[in-house]
């Protein structure tokens, strides 16, 4: 019954290896966040957040990029959230669980979720700009180029397609937490199916709909690829005022600063500052989504 030294050392080694792999993850997060925070913290000021870039984007602030990102996610949400919610309502309330149509929709949603984001960008370019936009220009504007080029509307709609699966899955999950009993109670009182959905099911899952929205916004705020061809600009001197305007975005601004700038070293503080702002933004959004989701799960188990 003497411990085998050999076996013992093997056990320790395996445990050590798995632990180091796990610790490596923590180290990556810590290093990444620390570097960004240290590099960016001095850059963050009221002025940096609220002013335009200056001197060929080597000085000044990032306000247009913040504004553009906000506008992008708002237009995107206005498109994706109702559309996604309606789809989720169809799937949970109307479609029969194992019907071919429900299965097909679920398959399509899963497929949309794994399509690389750059392909969304290409789709947006081909569909929204070249097909829809160009045809609108030719039909209504006599060929005058307005909608057949990148702008914030097409970028937002492309982004909406990308985030649609996130919205659908979150809302579906939330709708399922509303007990069958409550639907039965409402129907037994002589409510129609739609009245039941509108007055009982949706109010009961509003926090899930919000979670879906926040997750979609956080995903949309960080993505660059889908808007690359569909609306984002290197630099615009004015804020977008129309759907047909181009705009700036935080994620793309970082890319521009690090690769396209005339003097990369000079813009380094701006790069860090922009990165920190983007990181903080997505971090806050994700935390709120997690808190909301936690509340829903708690409600479900009550």
């Amino acid at each position: 019954m003497i411990k085998s030294f050999k076996r013992n050392i093997k056990g320790i080694l395996i445990e050590g290896m798995t632990l180091s792999a796990a610790l490596l993850i923590i180290a990556i997060v810590v290093v990444m966040v620390t570097v960004i925070v240290i590099g960016g913290k001095d850059q963050i000021s009221w002025e940096f957040l609220t002013s335009f870039p200056e001197d060929g984007m080597t000085k000044g602030g990032i306000f247009p990029a913040i504004y553009g990102t906000a506008l992008l996610v708002i237009i995107m949400s206005v498109a994706a959230v109702p559309f996604g919610t309606i789809t989720a309502i169809y799937l949970t309330e109307y479609a029969k669980e194992n019907s071919i149509i429900a299965k097909t929709i679920r398959f399509a949603v899963r497929t949309l979720a794994v399509i690389p984001s750059i392909i969304y960008g290409l789709f947006g370019l081909g569909f929204f700009i070249k097909f829809v936009g160009t045809n609108v220009d030719n039909t209504f504007l006599g060929g005058h180029l307005k909608w057949g080029q990148p702008n914030i509307l097409w970028a937002s709609l492309t982004m909406a397609l990308l985030t649609l699966p996130v919205v659908i899955v979150s809302v579906e999950e939330a709708l399922k937490t509303v007990p069958r009993d409550l639907r039965a109670a409402s129907l037994a009182l002589g409510a129609t199916k739609w009245q039941t959905i509108w007055k009982v099911v949706i109010p009961g899952s509003i926090s899930g709909i919000m979670t879906g929205t926040i997750l979609a916004v956080s995903r949309g705020a960080g993505e660059v690829a889908p808007i690359l061809f569909t609306g984002v600009a290197y630099y615009v001197a004015t804020l977008p005022t129309s759907f047909s305007d181009q705009f700036m975005v935080l994620g793309y601004h970082i890319y521009v600063m690090t690769t396209q700038s005339a003097n990369v070293d000079k813009t380094m503080p701006i790069q860090f500052g922009t990165t920190l702002v983007l990181l903080a933004l997505t971090f806050i959004l994700n935390i709120s989504a997690i808190i909301l989701r936690y509340r829903i799960r708690k409600k479900k188990t009550d």
């Binding site: 039965a184 109670a185 037994a188 009182l189 002589g190 409510a191």
Partner: protein, 252 residues
């Protein structure tokens, strides 16, 4: 002669390929309490849910035969299920108030029926809560969430919610099975009062409860209606041996 409210003739219900109700013919009188008893899985709850077409929500349920309410076949093609369910209300086994205020729970039915006038709603809510014998307990906190009420209070609130739609028939699916004895006796008292205005059909597992509150009792077994008679007769001198075995506790 007592007016008959619900009348079924040779009614069969298939659940997929399984025959769940076999040739049920019954006449349920107006403004009486009729109890359905029988062992679990005997079809009594399924039959109850056929009376306001809640079975429509379940895939694979097929019904044959006639179910008449006030002489009208409720499974006819031209019957509006929504209107039917206003006339035939239902109270469920597990109390299921909405996550809204006490007031909003009761006002839900009238509101979906288009009652908008605040004063009229107030009246309906108060009357319904009084009829469900819960008014004095909640009248000072109508704005509070219904989820804060006790189980027995929640169930009486659900009864009030059903009454607020002004039904003629109230179906109750084991309404007291999840409640403590005190709450149960309150619900039972309430049911006896309600029969002045409503036709009550109640499914119960509890034979003493059926004996205490019902005027008529129907005994179901394996999807068949074995015997239907005055409660007193069923519990003292049933015609069928199966009924006697069940009420004396020999099986079930």
């Amino acid at each position: 002669m007592i007016h008959e409210k619900i009348h079924t003739e040779n009614m069969f219900l298939h659940y997929g390929s399984k025959l769940a109700l076999n040739d049920i013919s019954i006449q349920i009188p107006e403004k009486k309490v009729t109890a359905f008893i029988g062992p679990s899985g005997c079809g009594k709850s399924t039959f109850l849910r056929s009376l306001n077409r809640m079975n429509d929500l379940i895939d694979g349920v097929k019904i044959e035969g006639k179910i008449l309410i006030d002489g009208i076949n409720i499974y006819d093609n031209n019957i509006d299920v929504v209107t039917l369910r206003k006339k035939v209300g239902m109270v469920f086994q597990k109390s299921n108030p909405f996550a809204k205020s006490i007031y909003e729970n009761v006002a839900y039915g009238p509101r979906i029926n288009g009652v908008k006038d605040k004063k009229q709603l107030d009246e309906i809510v108060e009357t319904a809560l009084q009829n469900a014998a819960i008014w004095t307990e909640v009248k000072d906190r109508l704005g509070d969430s219904a989820m804060g009420l006790s189980g027995g209070q929640q169930q009486r609130l659900c009864i009030a919610r059903t009454l607020a739609v002004n039904p003629e028939i109230v179906l109750m699916d084991e309404p007291a099975s999840a409640l403590d004895p005190l709450s149960t006796s309150k619900i039972e008292e309430l049911i006896v009062q309600l029969k002045e205005k409503y036709t009550i059909v109640i499914v119960t597992h509890n034979m003493q409860q059926a004996a205490r509150i019902s005027d008529l009792t129907a005994f179901f077994y394996l999807g068949e209606l074995i015997e239907f008679d005055k409660t007193k007769k069923i519990f003292t001198n049933p015609d069928k041996k199966q009924t006697e075995d069940y009420i004396t506790g020999r099986f079930g």
